[in-house]
Symmetry: C2
Subunit: 111 residues, 2 copies
Amino acid sequence: MAKGKSLDELTDPVFYILVALVEPRHGYAIMQYVEEETEGTFKIGPATLYTIIKKLLDSGLIEAEPDSEPRRKTYVATNYGISKLEEEVERRSRMVDLATIVLQTRGRKGQ
Amino acid sequence: MAKGKSLDELTDPVFYILVALVEPRHGYAIMQYVEEETEGTFKIGPATLYTIIKKLLDSGLIEAEPDSEPRRKTYVATNYGISKLEEEVERRSRMVDLATIVLQTRGRKGQ
DNA sequence: CTCCTTTATATCCATATTTGATATATCACT
DNA sequence: AGTGATATATCAAATATGGATATAAAGGAG
């Protein structure tokens, strides 16, 4: 049901696109969503967007959905995509926790 | 004091290497540290490691430190590197929070 | 003393990922 | 008719990553 390579880790743009597609959205709306949610700090251009959409369709993380407007293509995360996103949230959460502890431990030097 | 490009976002291996270098470590010890801390789920090979060490030295996030053993090269994060790591932890934390909220909101459909 | 494993650093090159630039077309507004 | 926003799409270049490989010294086993 998926043919991509690993998918053990999701990159930043893949992560944001999957988050956007927890609700159905078309490509352009994904770009706007990510820019708004990150207050302009993370932007996804069309090249990155459509490259990744293709990859996510191929690997079964998202699927196409019918849209009323003919010139738009709407996508949404599959159940598989949602669970992959949940895994990735946990993975990133652990990364944050590790770094937080390490940074805390530092400072109180020696002992 | 830094000549790298953006550094606005750190990739996964860069993140792990910087976390490892909150305390002084030499290259091989970084590889072992990351593998241990991630329980074998994330491995950094020599190619990735030394490529990134070079990049981090160039951009001033880490610096070399004298080591008793002559055949080892020890590195440690600079103050600049620590603050970059802190920023990145916050950035990733916000990503986790966003995804968590979005995933929570889903499920209770309509309204 | 020789073999093997671990430690340790380093690079080549192929593959994967990302992105700037560009192209096309429709729609809304003036 | 012209401009800006909407909307999808691709090319080519730049970046990033990782498997394989090379080198060498140290430590332990037999």
